[in-house]
């Protein structure tokens, strides 16, 4: 592999890893709060991408402006989903049944997207779609850079929110010890609902970032859920920094492996990492100790 090609792939890998990191953060957040594996996360991602595309097609404005609407709407949808659906499940079978429930939601979203927008592949046509910046001889596509910055910004905001706000503290308390959180007066049910909303809000941002430079179609979410699942297990279920680190590493590995192996084989890196994690370190590599049990 030559130097410039390596640099090129590395840059593409970092840009991809940023998006993975944001999306995996949302996925691992639900898990931390509720022990819920949210299969529908990537379906919401595609939904957000469709909304961005549709917004762009209808108004001609930059698709990122659609965030003004989609983020709050997704937040509310997540809150409602947790309060109205997930919390109905019996605690004893919550983990399994929530997988199936969110799977059902994913199917409904996919079907509805196909119903409304048809199965045709869509892509936003941006004036700067083909532009790129030259960085040490490597080309950095402007749209990918914009998507990365958006994702990184969202991830940073999420981190600051969890770390420094009162709500963030309540959420972390809920994740770590629900009983204790309740004893100190935190409304854990409501907090869990907000956490779910926050997770879906990341899907809204991720979807919009994705829509800038990707072709979307209703069943695309299956391509995302596998890698994202692998990332959160490798990172340690429930650990947001773990998810972010694993996302970056795996994103870069995928990008670099594509050169010798080709696009399809390179995707297996996620699953190899997943199985290796489960065999050797089921609690994940970067924190979290729940993997084996859930």
């Amino acid at each position: 592999m030559s130097g410039p090609l390596f640099l090129q792939s590395l840059i593409l890998g970092v840009l991809l890893g940023g998006l993975y990191a944001l999306l995996a953060a949302g996925l691992t957040l639900y898990f931390g709060i509720m022990r819920v594996v949210m299969i529908a996360h990537s379906a919401f991602l595609i939904l957000a991408a469709y909304l961005a595309w549709w917004f762009n097609r209808e108004t001609g404005l930059d698709p990122m402006l659609s965030l003004v609407v989609t983020v709050p709407v997704f937040f509310l949808a997540g809150f409602a989903m947790q309060r109205l659906l997930v919390s109905r499940l019996k605690p004893l079978t919550l983990t399994m049944m929530s997988v199936l429930l969110t799977f059902a939601i994913a199917l409904i979203i996919e079907g509805a997207l196909g119903f409304i927008f048809t199965g045709t592949q869509r892509r936003i046509q941006l004036p700067y779609a083909g532009d790129s910046l030259d960085v040490f001889g490597a080309q950095v596509p402007v749209v990918k850079l914009v998507a990365f910055v958006l994702a990184a910004f969202a991830l940073l905001s999420l981190y600051l929110l969890l770390k420094y706000t009162r709500f963030g503290r309540a959420l972390r308390a809920t994740i770590q010890h629900p009983e204790a959180a309740r004893l100190v007066g935190i409304d854990t049910d409501r907090t869990a609902g907000y956490g779910f909303g926050l997770g879906l809000a990341t899907a809204a941002i991720g979807g919009t970032a994705l829509s800038l430079d990707a072709t979307i179609y209703p069943s695309l979410h299956w391509h995302w859920i596998g890698p994202l699942m692998a990332i959160i297990v490798v990172g340690g279920l429930g650990s947001i920094p773990g998810a972010a680190i694993a996302a970056m590493l795996l994103g870069i590995s995928q990008s670099l492996l594509q050169i010798p192996l080709g696009a399809t084989w390179a995707q297996t890196v996620f699953y190899v990492a997943l199985f290796a994690t489960l065999m050797f370190r089921p609690q994940g590599f970067f924190g979290g100790r729940l993997a084996q049990r859930f």
Binding site: V37, K90, P91, M96, T268, A291, Q292
Partner: protein, 411 residues
């Protein structure tokens, strides 16, 4: 069998009578009710079994045209797959969303053996089943190291890996172009071909059902079911859970793989995207859950309902993705409102119309909890959990001991 009067007498007894005056719990339980119901349902199921078998066997003759017959074959195939899934999902409660992996492996295995070894179709089918078993053992060992959601993730990952491999390994599998499997009966006309395979699938289904039934009533089955109920508890009672789970997993893979192989011989055109789709795997789960995973005929019933519904939606709304919405809604309803499936739901409905039950167990159990509530923190926790779940199982959630607990009570 004891006679009725004796049972009625025991029905009237209270717990306190047995435990002496010291115990004041007043739980009235009617032990004869389940028994009567069991006998009643046994007669009904026998009748249904005969009628059902007769219907299945005569279907190729009453099917109005080959298309309907082929739809019948598809539904039988679904029934085989979801019954196969139920060897794992039903007995042990491990929900695999990636069982399409074994469907695909069975199908591709058969096709590839025919292609490269030039063996007759049905020999290839049997060999492919052995290959499936050989693959499922190491995969099972790896996957069964984890429980709950992680197991689901692994199962999904497994089918996604296979999709990637079968798409990418073009020299061997034919890649996205797919694989053509020659017909085992080249001389048969298409309708006759459907008919032959209808009976083959029916035979496979019957074999799978018999196997499930044998396990269900065996010691092995009891042990598997105890894993579903509480794996750690089962282990603590000496059940070799790891080995048993693996056996169930391999059996499940075998039946699913056999279904896939037969599908390959029948259908002839394999495509990785279809053979290794999460959707097929999710249909297996949906069918089994809908019918009822604890029941022999649950998956079959589910396959019948879902199979017909899927065909209906595809025909009625064929140019849309509406069938996905329908499948999703159905799955959501099943999960939220009848996680035990149609069969128990119908059973409860029938119970409602039958004469007064003697049991007031549920109420008294709750009252009892109220009485027994003590200042002891752990006991209170237990009561909460029971009330929240509506189920009487409790978990040790205090101390640091939670690390040993697979299914923490999550509130």
């Amino acid at each position: 069998m004891r006679n009725d009067s004796e049972r009625t007498a025991s029905a009237g007894r209270t717990a306190s009578a047995d435990l002496g005056p010291a115990l004041t719990e007043t739980v009235v339980v009617a032990p004869d009710a389940p028994r009567r119901r069991r006998r009643w349902s046994r007669a009904v199921s026998l009748a249904l079994l005969v009628v059902g078998a007769a219907l299945v066997l005569s279907f190729p003759f009453i099917a109005p045209n080959p298309y309907i017959l082929s739809a019948g074959v598809v539904i039988l195939n679904y029934a085989v797959l979801s019954t196969g899934w139920n060897f794992m999902g039903g007995f042990t409660g491990y929900i695999s969303l990636g069982h399409a992996a074994y469907f695909g492996l069975g199908a591709y295995g058969t096709g590839l053996i025919v292609k490269y070894l030039e063996l007759p179709g049905f020999v290839a089918w049997v060999l492919a089943a052995l290959v499936v078993v050989a693959i499922s053992v190491p995969v099972g060992i790896a996957a069964l190291r984890v429980r709950g959601a992680s197991f689901v993730i692994v199962s999904i990952a497994f089918v996604l890996i296979l999709l990637l491999v079968f798409q990418s390994w073009r020299e061997f599998t034919g890649g996205s172009e797919g694989l053509i499997v020659p017909r085992p009966f080249p001389d048969l006309l298409r309708p006759e071909h459907h008919r032959a395979f209808f009976y083959l699938f029916a035979g496979l289904l019957a074999a799978a059902l018999v196997a499930w039934w044998v396990i269900d009533r065996s010691k092995f089955g009891t042990a598997l079911k105890s894993i579903r109920e509480d794996e750690d508890k089962a282990r603590s009672l000496g059940v070799p859970t790891t080995r048993y789970k693996l056996i169930a997993y391999v059996l499940s893979a075998l039946v699913t793989g056999l279904g896939g192989g037969l599908y390959a011989l029948w259908f002839g055109d394999l495509d990785p995207i279809f053979q290794f789709s999460i959707l097929i795997g999710s249909y297996m789960v949906l069918m089994a859950l809908l019918g009822g995973v604890r029941h022999l005929f649950g998956p079959l019933l589910g396959a019948l309902i879902v199979g017909i519904a899927l065909e209906y939606f595809k025909l009625e709304f064929g140019d849309t993705q509406f069938h996905l919405v329908a499948a999703g809604l159905l799955l959501g309803v099943v999960v939220l409102f009848m996680p035990d499936g149609v069969i128990p739901a119908v059973g409860q409905l029938i119970d409602r119309f039958r004469p007064q039950q003697t049991s007031i167990r549920d109420v008294s159990a709750a009252e009892l909890l109220e009485q027994n509530r003590r200042s002891d923190a752990s006991a209170t926790g237990a009561a909460d959990a029971r009330e929240a779940s509506g189920e009487a199982s409790t978990r040790d959630a205090s101390d640091v001991s939670d690390a040993s607990d697979p299914k923490e009570v999550t509130r």
